[in-house]
Symmetry: C2
Subunit: 596 residues, 2 copies
Amino acid sequence: MIPYTAPLRDMRFALHEVIGLDRVSAIPAFESATPDLVDAVLEEAGKLASGVLAPLNTVGDKEGAKLANGVVRTATGWKDAYAQYRDGGWNSVPFEPEYGGQGLPFVVATAVQEMWQAANMAFALCPMLNQGAVEALTAHGSDEQKSTYLTKLISGEWTGTMNLTEPSAGSDVGAVRTKAVPDGDRWRITGQKIFITYGEHDMADNIVHLVLARTPNAPAGTKGISLFIVPKFLVNADGSLGERNDLRCVSLEHKMGIHASPTAVMAFGDNGGAIGYLVGEENRGMEYMFTMMNNARLGVGLQGVAIAERAYQQALAYARSRIQSKSMANPAGDSVAIIHHPDVRRMLLTMKAQIEAGRALALYASAALDIGKHHEDPQQRRLGQAMVDLLTPVVKAWCTDMGCEVSSIGVQIHGGMGFIEETGAAQHMRDARIAPIYEGTNGIQANDLAFRKVARDKGEAARTFIAEMRGLDAKLAAAPGDDLAAIRAALSAGIDALDRATDWVVANSRSDAQAVAASAAHYLRLFGIVAGGSMMARAALAAQAGLGRGEDAAFYESKLITCRFYADQILPQAAGLAGVVTDGWRTVNAIAEDQF
Amino acid sequence: MIPYTAPLRDMRFALHEVIGLDRVSAIPAFESATPDLVDAVLEEAGKLASGVLAPLNTVGDKEGAKLANGVVRTATGWKDAYAQYRDGGWNSVPFEPEYGGQGLPFVVATAVQEMWQAANMAFALCPMLNQGAVEALTAHGSDEQKSTYLTKLISGEWTGTMNLTEPSAGSDVGAVRTKAVPDGDRWRITGQKIFITYGEHDMADNIVHLVLARTPNAPAGTKGISLFIVPKFLVNADGSLGERNDLRCVSLEHKMGIHASPTAVMAFGDNGGAIGYLVGEENRGMEYMFTMMNNARLGVGLQGVAIAERAYQQALAYARSRIQSKSMANPAGDSVAIIHHPDVRRMLLTMKAQIEAGRALALYASAALDIGKHHEDPQQRRLGQAMVDLLTPVVKAWCTDMGCEVSSIGVQIHGGMGFIEETGAAQHMRDARIAPIYEGTNGIQANDLAFRKVARDKGEAARTFIAEMRGLDAKLAAAPGDDLAAIRAALSAGIDALDRATDWVVANSRSDAQAVAASAAHYLRLFGIVAGGSMMARAALAAQAGLGRGEDAAFYESKLITCRFYADQILPQAAGLAGVVTDGWRTVNAIAEDQF
C-alpha cells in the first residue's frame, strides 16, 4: 500500500484561487477564517490523515468490524485512532460555537473531510454520519435535547447515526414501518432498521440513534413519519450514562468494500420498546431528515473525490516505479517507467483532471452553503441556498460515479498487480462502489435534479448557474494563449449543450415526466461535466494569473495542462449527451416488462 | 444468487440471423454443422452450464482455491463438475478430429464458451487456457508431441497452461528471464513464472505447462524466446504418467475476483531443472505464443459479454421482484416493481443493448476466424483472416470494458443490496474486473489495433470493414419504419466518425506515433461502438424480417427496440470520440513526469 499524502497545495489552490474562499471569509460569522488559519488547519488535518488514519485503511479492509455477543469490535488500532481524532478537536470543526463547535466555514470542513475520506473511508463514515445527527439536532432539537446530546456529539465523545432504511423502505423512505407509541413524555420504539452505518461499535461511550418511526394514527407515506432520538444508553439528569436502552445490533453486513465500517441491522424494542424522544413536531420527520441528508449528500459526493485522489496517488506511485517496455520516444534505449507510455499518461490525466474538477465543484457547493446560511445580505443568502440546492445532487452523483471510474482506472494502471488485493488498488475500487448507492442512489439524485431542482422553479436556479458559467467567457477571451482559447471554446459548447438540455427538462417535466425521468441520469452527467468544466476554466484563469505573477511555474503549468486536458477529453462528451437527453429516451418507456 | 439460464434464443438469433452462421456452415469442412446440430449443441451446453457450473459460482467465490503442501485444492464440487464437463465431451468441441476433436466451427464453440464463462468464469478459465495450449501444439508441435499430449489435452483428461509472465516481464514479454539449457534431446528449465492461471489444481491427472524461456546465447528481447512443453508429470513411452517433474506451485494470489481460479506463482527447476521439450524451432516462441494468444484474446472478450449477461439476468430478476415506490404513470396506485421506474429501465436497456452488440461482434469475429482458416476460396480466407485480426483487439478490449460497466450497473440496480456480497451482484463486478487486464491489457489492445491492425496495412483492413458496414445502408434505407430510419442515421454518423478517426490514425502512425498512442484507447472504443452498432443494425434488419414473417412478434419487437436504444443512446458517443481521437491528445504528452 502506498502512503497517503494530503494534497495540500491542490486544496489551497482550489479554495483560495478557484472557488474564492474569500467570499466566505468576508462574511462576519467567518471573520476568524483567515487564509493563514485555514492553511494551518489543513496542514494539521493532513498530518492526522496521513500519519494515523491512512495506515489503518488496509488493516480495516482485512479485519473488518466484528460482531460477537451483541458487541461490535472495530479493527485493530481504530479505537485509538478515533481517540486521537476526537481529542484533536477534529469532530467539532464546522459546528456552532454555542455547543462547543469551532464555527469554521462548511467549505473548510469539506476540505478537511476530504482528507479523512481519502485516508480511510471506512473510518470517516463514523464522523460523517455523526455530522448528520448534529445538523438535525442543531436545527430541530429542543434546548434540553441540545444540552443533553449535542455537546457530546459535537465533541465526538458520543457518535450519532441515521436510522432510515428498513427492508421494505429503501429509496421509498415513506414506507417506514417502525412504530413509536407514547409513554409519558417519552416514546417506545419498536421495529427493525437495516444498513445502519456505525449502528454499533466500540469507539465511543454512547451512540445516539436518530430513528424515523410512525406514531399511532399517523398519515400514510412520508407525511406520517416522525424523528426520534434513541440513545444506546439512556442519559441521567446529571449527564452521566444510565441504563442500556432496548436496542441491539442483530448482525453486520458482509460487503464488497468499506469492510471496517460496521453496517448494522438494528432491532429496536425487542423487550417492550426502546425509549425514544421526539425531535421537533410529530409527522415532520422526513423534513428534518432532509436537513441532514442534503449535507450528507455533499459529504458522499466528496467521498467520490477523496477515494479518487487516494487511487490516483497509488496509481501515480506505481506508474513512476514500474519499469516495463521501451519508450516510444527512444526505442533503442532501456526500458522505462510506465508513466512514460502515452496510454498510461492518458489514464493518469483522466484521473487527475476529473479529481480536480470534482474537488472544486464540491468546494464551490460547500461555499454556497456557507453563503446561504450566513451571508448578511438576504439576497445573497437566497442565491447561495439556491446554488447549493441545485448542485447537491450533481456533486453527490457525478463525483461518486467519477470515484468509481477513477478508482477502476487506478486498478488498470497497475496491470495484473491491480487485481491482487495486497497491492491496495482494488480496495479503493471496492470502497468507492458504495458511494453511488447510499444516501439516495444516483438515480434518485438524477430525479431530484431534474424535477425538484431544475423543473420546479422553471429552470431559474439552473439558468442562474448557467449565466454564472457564461460570465467566465469574457475572462477566457481576454486571457492569452492557445490553452485558454481551447478551454473557452470547449466550455462554451458544453454550456450550450447544457442549456438545450435544461430547456428540454423544464419544458417536459410535467407534460412528459416519464421521458424526463428516463433522461435524468444523462442530464445529471451532462450537468456535472459542464459544471466541472466551468471549475476547470476558473482554475485555468487562476493558473494563468499565477504564471503572470511568475510564481511556482511548474505547478501552474501543470494546472493549465490539466484544465486543457479536461477541455480536450472530458467536455467533448457534452454535445452527445445533450442529444441523448432530448432525443434518446423513447425506447426506455416503450419496451414491455417481459420483453427485457 | 439468481440462477443462470443460457440465453439460447438470443444466441440462435445472433448466430443464424445476425452474423450469418450459414456462411460458415457452407464451408465443406463444416458441412456437419447444420442449424439443427448447432441448436442441439447449444441446448445441451446450456443444461450443463445452468445445472452444474452456475450453482458452483458462489461456492467458488467464497471458498477460493487453496494451496497446502504444494497441493492446490479447488472448491467444493469443482472436481466433480470438471469430470462432468470432460466426460460430456465439451472440451473437444472446436478442435481437429484427427486428435479427437469434434471439429465444430470456432464460432459455435464461442457461443458454447459464453455459457461456461457466464455460468462460472473462474471455472471456465481452465478450459480457456487449455484451449490455448491445444492451439499452440496443434499448430507447432511435432507429431510425437501431438500424440503424447494433444489427445489428452483435447479430451480434457489433462489441462494446459500458458507460462508467460514473470515479475519483470508482464506486458513486455520479451524481458523473460527463465532459462532453458539443453540436456540430451530434452531441456532443463529454471525460473519463476507468475500469474499462471490453473498452474496447479486437482481436477486433472496431469498439467501440461507451455513455458516461454531463453536458450543459451539467444538474442535479446522477443527474438530470443523459445517455447517448451513442461509437464507436471513426465509421460512414459506407453503414455502412462511417470515421475514428478521439477516444478511446483509456490503460492496462490489473493485476488479481487475469480477467487476459485488458482492464480499460481510457479517455480521451475529448484532441484536441477525441470525437464522440458522444445516446441518447433528455437527462438520462435513469441510467434507460437501469439497463435494461442490471439484466440485467447477473443475468449477474454467473450468473458466480458458472458459476465455482462450473467449480471443482466441477476439485475433483471431483482428489478422484477423488488417493490419500491409508486409508478410515475400511476402515482395513486400501489408501489410497483422497480422495473417500472424509467431510470431502472434505462439501466437495464444499457446492459441489454451492449450485451447483444458485444455478443454479435464476438461471434462475427469468430466466424471470420473460421472463414480465414477453412474457406475453400483463398481470397475469402485472406479476407476472413484480415477481419479476425482487425477485430480481435476490439472484441477483447471493448467487450471487457463493457463487462465491467454492465456488471457495475447490475450492482447499481440492486441499490444497497448490490453492495452486500450475499446478493451475488458484487461478485460479477469483481470477477469482470480482471478481463480488461489479462491476455494483454486493454491499453496494449489499443496499440495493437491502431499500429498493427490499422496503420500497418495503411488502413486497408479497416476500410474493408468500414465498407462492409456502409453496405448496410441501402438495406436500412429500404426497410420500413421510424426505428430503422433512426438506426440508419445513427450508424451512418458513427461510421463517418470512425472513418475520420481511421484516416487520422493511418496518417499519423509514423509521423507522430506518440499522438496515435495517446489516442489509441479512444480509437478502440470508437471502433467498438460503431462495429457494435453495425451488428445492431444487422439485428434490426433481421428483426424486421422476422416481424415481416409474422413470427414471434414479442421477441422481434424487443430486438428492434433494443437496437433502436443502442442507436439512440450508445452510438451518439461516436462523434465526440472521433474529435477526441484526432484533437484531444496534445496534453497527454505535454505534461512532465513530475507535474502529475
